[in-house]
């Protein structure tokens, strides 16, 4: 294991000397396990439920609790000023890892250290469809921990950025009347209004039309300059290439590669057969130079 970390720790972002690198997120041998109730494994689920209540820990499996090992022994260090992409096929543990970094999911083994409070980009859950866009801007801002004055100050910027009012006074209408694209734009604008130390973005760039996508990518870059570190989960190779300088590739919960964007993306595309011109995807691509983490 020492070799792997050796590699990971010493990747220096271009133009920096190792002396000035400040770690913002340290992920130390992390396992994440989900426990799912009521999968009805074995017996009928009513009996299983009763069993579960009576026997608690002893017979998790017999009682129909299934364990899903979502992230397996992942270690890396993220430094200030880095933008790190997380890639991997569906269900490979990207979002889970992101939530654990945000402190929203418990880890089974290992520990995650962070500088300040990393925050997920997204306020969807705090917004209410029956309220006007205007009130949602306030509600979302407050939910993210901004003060009333901060929200007031940035209100106009948020509305302008979302472009909701470009086609009329829509911000004073309830959000349920918005098209899905408009709602997504407003949500992104609210979420991106706050400055974060460590920013975690989960597929947020795939919303809106082309013009808005370009604007939001610019915004991400700006956030990245303010924020210490940005993590981006995306299936879009383009937005990863545009935004990130380092990429972590997760596959079946394991950290398969960690390296500069281009190298990892090449391997990943070969693996998924994305480009078509690559040879058949191998089960385990041989680590190229600098692709340090063997699966």
């Amino acid at each position: 294991m020492a070799e792997n970390t050796f590699e990971i720790n010493d990747r220096v972002p271009a133009g920096r000397t190792p002396a000035e690198r400040i770690p913002t997120v340290v992920v130390d041998g992390v396992d994440i396990v989900y426990r799912v109730n009521g999968t009805g494994a074995g017996k009928g689920s009513a009996t299983a439920a009763l069993n579960r209540m009576l026997r608690r820990k002893q017979a998790e499996k017999a009682a129909g609790v299934r364990k899903v090992h979502a992230v397996k022994n992942v270690s890396f260090v993220a430094y200030k000023g880095e933008a790190i992409g997380l890639i991997g096929t569906n269900g490979s543990g990207k979002s889970t890892l992101l939530k654990a970094i945000a402190g929203l999911l418990p880890v089974e083994n290992g520990r995650i250290f962070t500088d300040g409070q990393p925050s997920l980009l997204g306020v969807n859950a705090a917004l209410m469809n029956d309220l006007t866009g205007e009130r949602n801007v306030y509600l979302g801002g407050l939910a993210m921990g901004m003060s009333r004055e901060q929200v007031k100050d940035r209100y106009q910027d948020i509305v302008d950025f979302s472009g909701i009012n470009e086609k009329g006074d829509f911000i004073t209408l309830p959000m349920r009347t918005y098209s899905s694209g408009m709602a997504a734009r407003l949500r992104f604008s609210i979420a991106a209004a706050k400055d974060h130390d460590v920013l975690l973005i989960d597929e947020a760039l795939a919303t809106g039309d082309a013009a808005f996508r370009i604007r939001s990518e610019e915004r991400i870059r700006a956030l990245r300059e303010q924020a210490g570190t940005v993590f981006l989960v995306s299936h879009s190779a383009k937005s990863i290439r545009d935004t990130c300088d380092r990429v972590l590739w997760l596959e079946r919960g394991e950290l398969r590669m960690d390296g500069p964007t281009e190298e990892v993306m090449e391997q990943y595309e070969a693996f998924t057969g994305d480009k078509g011109n690559k040879p058949k995807p191998k089960a385990k691509p041989k680590p190229k130079p600098t692709t340090a983490v063997p699966a």
Partner: protein
């Protein structure tokens, strides 16, 4: 190993178990750990505007699709009171011997509904808002408190309706109406405390939300919402003597009687349990403090698993 590297490392590489040391050296903290109690209170205070905005937002979004809109804030409690009047006042004729029965009943129903809905929404505060809990960082106690606050706002609408009812039934405006304010503050504290206890229980075992309506209905019937406890216990000669004082000392009954005492002139101080303000304050403090600490103890576990 050397062929794995583009450039030779300029500094010796830390070993795996040095990650924790590296984190410690740069002052990083463990993600998702529970803050200390004073720190938790401070964080909660910092989110006070979110708590009130969330409560108001929930309240207004409730009837935003209805044609009559916010009129339902007042209509719903009035209709509720009308139903209870029909059943307990007309059909069962509970009103015998209770002066000013309608103000008596409506006050009871409104004040009870405040406690009942706070507890009910508290039970679902975490389990019903997992999306929010799993996406954003904030002290989770903000949720049950916010739901209790929403019910308080709802009650203030009901109180407007209540004042109209009181005046219609010839209850005179009196200086004692001012006592409604401290009574409501104490009841709110009690409700928020119980809501936090229920929120933790409901987060771990969502099934409790299915059970609560039955518990709450039983609680309502023994709290003297529709009838006067002392008259009821007076009629049943066989009851042991401790039953009436115990029923009258249970928190909802205390808050209901306090409100009746402050608003209705025919409800005399002699009908209140002894040391009623001490009792009301005691229940509020016990529920508030115990509920808050109990809820905080499990802070890091909400929304997980």
């Amino acid at each position: 190993m050397s062929q794995v590297l583009h450039t030779p490392p300029p500094t010796p590489a830390p070993a795996d178990d040095d990650l924790a040391a590296l984190a410690a050296r740069h002052g990083l903290s463990v993600s998702g750990a529970r803050p200390s109690l004073p720190e938790y209170v401070r964080q909660l205070w910092a989110r006070r505007h979110f708590i009130s905005a969330f409560a108001t937002a929930k309240l207004t979004s409730q009837y935003s699709q209805a044609k009559l809109g916010q009129v339902w804030q007042v209509m719903t409690p009035l209709l509720n009171a009308a139903v209870y009047y029909f059943i307990f006042g007309v059909l069962l004729d509970t009103k015998r011997n209770v002066p000013d029965y309608i103000p008596f009943l409506v006050t009871g129903v409104f004040i009870w509904t405040f406690t009942q809905s706070s507890i009910m929404s508290g039970t679902r505060a975490i389990s019903g808002n997992l999306g929010l809990v799993r996406a954003l960082h904030f002290p989770r106690a903000a949720l049950p408190i916010s739901f209790a606050l929403q019910q308080l706002q709802q009650l203030l609408f009901s109180m407007c309706a209540l004042v109209v009812i009181l005046l219609c039934f010839g209850v005179p405006v009196a200086a004692s109406w001012v006592l409604a304010v401290p009574a409501l503050i104490l009841q709110f504290t009690f409700n928020a405390g119980v809501a936090m206890i229920m929120a933790r229980l409901g987060a771990k075992t969502p099934d409790i939300a299915q059970l609560m309506p039955f518990v709450l209905r039983t609680w309502m019937y023994i709290s003297g919402v529709m009838w006067s406890i002392e008259r009821l216990t007076g009629q049943h000669k066989g009851l042991p003597s401790w039953v009436a004082p115990v029923l009258k000392a249970n928190p909802p009954a205390v808050y209901i009687d306090l409100m009746r005492y402050s608003l209705i002139d025919s409800f005399k101080a002699s009908q209140l349990p002894p040391h009623v303000w001490a009792l009301a304050t005691g229940w509020a403090l016990v529920a508030g403090v115990v509920g808050f600490i109990y809820f905080w103890k499990a802070e890091e576990t909400y929304g997980r698993g």
